[in-house]
């Protein structure tokens, strides 16, 4: 059993990581927190001496499906995460404390661990009418998010609500539900999906903790590790697509043979997610395997991309022969040009910032004579 008293540095040592890996992790965390290079020593000191990384998990406009998904994780199992890997100091779904005792947990964490805690956000932020559509302890979601994000070492947006607004952001978006990367001026790792796959969620967190660096992100701030491929490209029904064998009606002979669901409205060709590789609930299945087309729940604005049972080919500007990148662009532009453009620009800017911090860290080590 791992020693819960171990510091991050001790844990990494035990797993065979070098001092260099550790310092890269520290500089990554500092970079995300917006801490200047001169403050890096403070972060290194903290991570050498502080045990399990404190985590704050906020809930805004959401349905708690992300929390529910998180506790379905099989590798690692969630009990180990909660007891041994992280210190989940504030989470409305699971924490014992309520009311002002719960608020104190939040206050203590963001104060005592400034620059060190990981902020996880589930849900979107309603920006309309001073935020009266989501209030916690008499405060607006925006107010709480800004306070908690200020000194966070890393910010992760869980699910489509926090990443792109999801259902409450669907037309006509009655509360002006807003993804968190548009509310805070800080890099955000987007982990979309409604919800994301449990093992992807714990995978993102442990990637940061174990490898000491953030996962590579795509143009929408999503970890390429899990969102780098279209569901269609890795779908086990893909051979039927290539052979031109399609389900024509629900539960027809072709459905019973497991042919491709493309003609039934499957969004696999325009959806980037790990469903067909990692699969759901410890690898049991994924939507297409169980007979329903993909609804594209990890894509920006997917609720407004036309009815779910409408054949994709009728999307304006879409052709199945297009490359993945072209499809992404065309559908993105067709669906929500402003949102997508903003997200891409924002994330390119953030990636640059993060990448600069990483380079800086490596250069710093080389100057000190460290080597790979």
């Amino acid at each position: 059993m791992p020693d819960p008293n171990a510091t991050i540095w001790q844990t990494m040592q035990a797993k065979g990581y070098t001092r260099r890996d550790f310092l890269r992790f520290c500089s990554f965390a500092a970079g995300l927190a917006g801490i200047e290079a001169t403050g890096l020593a403070r972060v290194v000191h903290a991570f050498e001496n502080k045990p399990r990384p404190p985590v704050v998990w906020l809930h805004f406009q959401e349905c708690t499906c992300c929390s529910e998904s998180f506790i379905r994780s099989s590798h690692p199992i969630v009990a180990d995460i909660v007891l041994d890997k992280l210190s989940l100091d504030y989470t409305e779904t699971l924490q014992a404390a309520a009311g002002h005792q719960a608020e104190k947990c939040l206050h203590d964490t963001i104060t005592n661990y400034a620059g060190q805690y990981i902020l996880l956000v589930e849900g979107s932020v309603p920006m309309k009418d001073d935020g009266v559509y989501c209030m916690i302890a008499g405060r607006s979601a925006e107010d709480i998010l800004l306070k908690c994000a200020k000194d966070a070492a890393a910010v992760i947006a869980w699910g489509s609500c926090a990443s792109n607004g999801c259902i409450q952001g669907a037309s006509p978006n009655p509360t002006n539900a807003t993804p968190i990367h548009k509310v805070i001026d800080k890099p955000v790792i987007n982990v979309p999906g409604c919800p994301p796959i449990a093992d992807v969620m714990t995978g993102v967190v442990t990637h940061i903790l174990v490898f000491g660096r953030m996962p590579a992100l795509d143009g929408q701030g999503r970890p390429k590790e899990f969102y780098g491929r279209r569901v269609h490209d890795t779908c086990y029904r893909r051979p039927y697509y290539d052979a031109g064998l399609f389900v024509e009606a629900w539960d027809d002979e072709k459905a019973r043979k497991g042919y491709c669901l493309y003609k039934m409205g499957c969004r696999g060709p325009v959806t980037y997610n790990a469903c067909s590789v990692t699969r759901w609930n410890n690898g049991v299945s994924y939507p297409i395997q169980s007979g329903h087309g993909c609804i594209g729940c990890s894509e920006n604005g997917f609720w407004d991309n036309g009815p779910f049972y409408q054949h994709l080919a009728s999307f304006p500007g879409f052709g199945i022969e297009s490359t993945a990148d072209t499809i992404g662009t065309v559908v993105g532009v067709g669906a929500a040009v402003g949102v997508t453009a903003h997200a891409i620009v924002t994330n390119i800017r953030k990636r640059k910032l993060i990448s600069e911090h990483m380079d800086e860290s490596v250069a710093d080590q080389q100057a000190k004579g460290g080597g790979r």
Partner: protein, 571 residues
């Protein structure tokens, strides 16, 4: 006399706020407020009705799947579709799996810490814990070494100084009554339940592709059955479901129920607290023939008034005189004035926030104070949920229900009136979980028999094509979420959704007062609840959690002078 603030209420889904008054150690008034709204009804307008299940399923990721079920039933009702028997059975299996998972998670992870003192478990004798565990159940994980290892892990955890989710609990509160050994056993099962709950949901993954939020289909279920195919529900998939059901029955019978009875035995005083409303409503669930034949349901449909178990009233979701929603204290406006009640087919969803702008310390409870509307059944405030389901079934003489309820009352040595309480609500949830786990086995056996007989249809094509739909039609889908009576209403016009309204269990239970000042279930149940320490109101959590809230709110109690003894602060 004092005021207590509990904000946010944790271990629930969503954001809930209650403001109430405590005098002489008892609650004399309470206000329940939902403080988050997303506007599903507005978003659904103009959409394809066949997509509605996917939208409404996102109303909740905790009781995931039940909104999808209500939605497909609503659309099928409007279009006159009867789904094939296999589809009905698979829907039952998915719904049962939801109940079993959700109730176990509620008991251990959302409710148990109101009764179980985690810190006290540190001082338990593992050998005595083992004896206790073996005396109440033959669950194999019960050796002294097992509990000693767990205790060691807990001790290391606590010694780390980082208590994580257990930080700042009401540990050591005199209202915790369990011996240390029972506390240690409960903590062990807290962790085991966390592991087990991710197994049973695989029933959703097999038939619906994922959990949370499995896939549904108007006209049936999306999965096909084909014993000659690897790409369909085949023998291997069915065997996996069988194994999950067997394991579920074992966990519920050998862990959940023994724990529930053991813990309840120390808290019998709670059989006299938190009863609240005297009216109970259930729509019924688990068709054994088809959804269109409610007399075939495992849980019957009906309403009980004034705790009169000798009479069960008929309930009809289509009758515009029965269910109406009021907004006298809700942040909405109606076209023809706020005083009227609207049947959901005529329902309106127009935001009208008149509360204090955040940040604020208290709501204006004289005016509108919640994002929840207030539903009424024939003008009566009704409690919904496991207790309502069990009472309606008990009153209707359902043998299985009568047997298990009477047996439990006997074991705890409490009268039938003990059901009308916080403890009764929590016990009803456990008892129905046992029944439902066994019903899962029945539904599974029937599905297998159908397949064996060559019946494999899971979908009906009739009315899938919008060209076959009437110009306008209306439908209602009644179901029972784990938390209680759930229904959706739809009006379809020109192949699109013209109006869609959801009335969910927490709307019944957690709503603000109605146009007559009549309280709903949470507010009424809190009245008279003793509060030993206003700074640590564990009693409020016990009663509120006994409803298994599925909303976003928090609880505030104020003294009659309006002075806050306990200020909510955001740090």
């Amino acid at each position: 006399m004092a005021r207590i603030v509990v904000d946010p209420i944790t271990r629930i889904e969503g954001h809930l706020r209650i403001e109430a008054v405590v005098e002489n150690g008892r609650i004399t008034e309470a206000y329940s407020s939902g403080t988050m709204v997303r506007g599903f009804e507005k978003i659904l307008k103009g959409r394809d009705p066949r997509d509605a299940w996917a939208f409404t399923e996102r109303a909740c990721g905790v009781c995931t799947t039940v909104h999808a079920l209500a939605s497909v039933r609503t659309v099928e009702d409007a279009l006159g579709i009867t789904v094939p028997k296999n589809a009905e059975l698979i829907r039952n299996l998915m719904c049962c799996a939801q109940y079993v998972q959700d109730h176990v998670v509620h008991f251990y992870h959302l409710h148990a810490l109101d009764w179980v003192d985690v810190v006290s478990a540190l001082s338990a004798d593992p050998a005595a814990t083992s004896q206790l565990a073996q005396s109440i159940s033959r669950w194999p994980k019960s050796s002294p070494g097992y509990f000693a290892d767990l205790q060691k892990r807990l001790q290391t955890f606590v010694a780390s100084g980082q208590l994580g989710i257990f930080a700042n609990g009401y540990w050591g509160h005199p209202q915790y009554k369990l011996p240390a050994e029972a506390n240690l056993m409960a903590v062990a099962h807290y962790l085991e339940a966390l592991e087990w709950q991710k197994e049973i949901v695989k029933v959703h993954t097999i038939f619906g592709g994922k959990n949370p939020h499995p896939n549904y289909l108007v006209g049936g279920v999306p999965c096909s059955i084909n014993l000659d195919e690897v790409n369909a529900v085949n023998t291997e998939r069915l065997n996996q479901v069988a194994k999950l059901i067997t394991d579920a029955i074992a966990f519920v019978e050998l862990v959940y129920l023994p724990d529930l009875l053991a813990i309840a035995g120390f808290y019998k005083d709670w059989a006299g607290i938190g009863g609240g409303l005297t009216n109970y409503l259930a729509y019924g669930e688990f068709p054994t023939r088809s959804y269109g034949q409610p007399d075939s349901f495992k849980f019957p449909r009906g309403a009980i008034l004034n705790r009169n178990l000798n009479e069960v009233h008929e309930v009809n979701g289509r009758d515009k005189e029965e269910i109406k929603e009021y907004i006298s204290h809700s942040w909405y406006s109606y076209k023809n004035g706020d005083g009227a009640g609207l049947h959901p087919w005529d329902g309106e969803t127009e935001f009208n926030f008149t509360g204090p702008k955040p940040p604020f310390d208290q709501l204006n409870v004289e005016g509108k104070y919640s994002w929840l509307k207030t539903p009424r059944w024939r003008e009566h405030a009704m409690e919904v949920g496991p207790l309502a389901r069990m009472l309606v079934a008990y009153a209707k003489g359902v043998t299985e229900v009568k047997d298990i309820v009477n047996d439990t009352l006997g074991r705890l040595n409490v009268p039938v009136t003990a059901l009308f309480s916080t403890l009764g609500r929590t016990a009803a949830r456990g008892l129905e979980t046992k029944l439902i786990a066994h019903w899962m086995q029945e539904f599974y056996d029937e599905l297998l028999a159908n397949v064996k007989a060559g019946e494999t249809r899971t979908f009906t094509e009739e009315r899938w094509d919008p060209a076959t739909w009437p110009e306008t039609c209306e439908g209602v889908g009644l179901t029972e979420a784990p938390r209680g009576a759930l229904a959706h209403w739809i009006r379809i016009k020109d192949k699109k959704i013209d109006n869609y309204q959801l009335v969910v269990p927490s709307t019944w239970n957690a709503s603000p007062k109605d146009h007559n000042g009549m309280r709903s279930a949470y507010e009424e149940a809190l009245l008279g609840t003793p509060v030993a320490n206003v700074d640590q109101p564990v009693e409020i959590l016990r009663t509120i959690h006994s409803f298994d809230p599925c909303i976003a709110c928090a609880v505030h109690l104020y003294d009659p002078a309006g002075r806050q003894v306990h200020q909510v602060k955001f740090y």
